[in-house]
Amino acid sequence: MINSTIVEKIRETPSTITFRFYWEEKVLPGQFIMIWVPGYGEIPMSLSFTGKKKGITVKAYGVPSRKLQELEPGDRIFFMGPYGKPFTESHGKRLLIGSGSGMASLLPLVNQDSTVIVSARNREELLYIGKMQAERVVTITDDGSSGFKGLPHEYLASMDLSVFQRLYVCGPEVMMFKLLPLLMKAGVKAEFSLERSMKCGIGICDSCSIDGFQLCTEGPVVSIEKLSGLNEFGKWKLDHSGKRIEV
């Protein structure tokens, strides 16, 4: 295992915490690490900061992510990686669409040419708002407590997407599934970062597979062309036992 000492702990939202630590490794936006929480599990996390001072942004779900959140500066984190194929770099205007903790993998892509759509359940859960050096930041909440009330695909229906060189999307699968037809129709260049349960990160265990592709090695970033050909996307995944369940 690789290990590093946490040098900073930042509460982002009521459910989300960012940890910063030094790690020399070259990592590109969209790549991830597998974090070992000794005694409690191992979970995939995107790098929300990809410079020398790396960062992860952890949302509390089950036991491992909660235990991870309990770490303090000075504590060590253990991980392996980096894993996965990164987002394709692009020049010119870019549109980033991040829902929930999905914003974590998009943060390293934010620049002054970016329009960023941040969505979350409510105002408090919006990630990184006010911290991003972007051209424009739009907020969307389920409950309307900030910005547009609704879901990203509803908001995007009224946008002119042709001004963007490329779109980058990360969030819950249903959100992305609903967005896909709209983006297909608009004919834009787009990349999506997908999520599946992951047990190895190295293309061995099959838990992250979608239509025979392993997201840990052939993803998690998938182009819109590839995504539109996947049978399982938005519909099926396997649970921890390998049982086929609806997404």
């Binding site: 070992w36 979970i43 047990k199 036992s241 086929r244």
Partner: protein, 298 residues
């Protein structure tokens, strides 16, 4: 030239996917068949769904992997759909099963047969789950009964996959001699410790070692069993290239399985090795890969 017949099963080349690697999702198995594997073996399936152990369940170390996945599987009632998807590639799928008693094995095997698999592979060898695998597979009487029971009731061939973690593989191989083929070997029990965390990395503490580190051990079992018994053998353990494949074939294997190497080389490994094997055969004027089976027996 590359075609082999093992346990009565015709394969377009000697290479299959080993159980437990990229074989729980039907689409993945299909894609592996499309990438050049002659057959795939499913993840080992039991009677009930099992989540398996808490991750870390797979840990890369020098020369291989340690794994203690804990026989996570959806249960026999939920695997039919995946097998159906895999079968749409038009190649043989082999159903791996694990149980505790002859009756449990039989029920699982019958369901597998109904799902359309070309053979069942009995996991008598998983080193890290209590009550199954090696615990079953190190009891010669139980092994004999399990195999006998199946052979009387199935139309498809039965493979028995044996463990290297026993006193005498030969004794168990003899007990399983009613099988149509023996699969040698499963992983070797091992562990890793993280010296900074000061604890074992795998949540199960112990796991099975696979990959090139165990190649010499697998070869030894194939050679030893071939020397003593007249039975088809499928070699597995650390195969990464055509030279490794030839070693296993010359030791006495009619077919081969590949697992861990998929992590290092991806799914194209099946295509690569079979191409290289074919080149080797033409270059050396060998008509069929079957002519080399056991060639190194002295």
């Amino acid at each position: 030239m590359l075609q082999v017949t093992v346990a009565g099963l015709k394969l377009e080349n000697p290479l299959m996917l080993a159980s437990g690697i990229l074989d729980q999702n039907g689409y993945t198995m299909k894609r592996i068949l499309e990438s050049g594997a002659a057959a795939v073996v499913t993840k080992s399936i039991g009677s009930e769904p099992r989540d398996g152990y808490l991750p870390p369940v797979i840990y890369p170390i020098e020369g291989g992997l340690l794994n203690a996945v804990g026989l996570s599987n959806p249960g026999i009632d939920n695997i039919g759909g995946e097998i159906k998807i895999a079968l749409s590639a038009g190649k043989p799928v082999i159903g791996s099963i694990f149980g505790s008693t002859p009756d449990e094995f039989l029920k699982l095997a019958i369901s597998m047969e109904e799902y359309g698999v070309s053979a069942v592979e009995l996991n008598l060898s998983c080193p890290h789950v209590q009550g199954y695998g090696t615990e079953v597979g190190s009891d010669p009487v139980l092994v004999r009964n399990i195999v006998k029971n199946l052979k009387g009731s199935l139309r498809i061939p039965v493979f028995s996959k044996l463990s290297p973690n026993v006193n005498s593989v030969l004794e168990i191989a003899r007990a399983a001699s009613d099988s149509d083929a023996l699969v040698l070997i499963n992983t070797v029990k091992g562990m890793a410790i993280d010296i900074v965390a000061k604890r074992p990395v795998l949540s199960n503490i112990y796991g099975g070692l696979s990959g090139s580190a165990i190649k010499s051990v697998g070869l030894r079992y194939v050679y030893e069993v071939k020397r003593e018994m007249d039975i088809d053998i499928i070699g597995v353990g650390g195969i990464e290239n055509y030279q490794d494949a030839l070693e296993y074939i010359m030791a006495g294997s009619k077919a081969l399985q590949i697992g861990t190497a998929l992590g290092k080389f991806g799914k194209s490994i099946f295509y690569r090795i079979s191409t290289e094997l074919a080149e080797y055969l033409s270059k050396n004027n060998i008509r069929s890969v079957m002519d080399l089976v056991g060639a190194a027996q002295i």
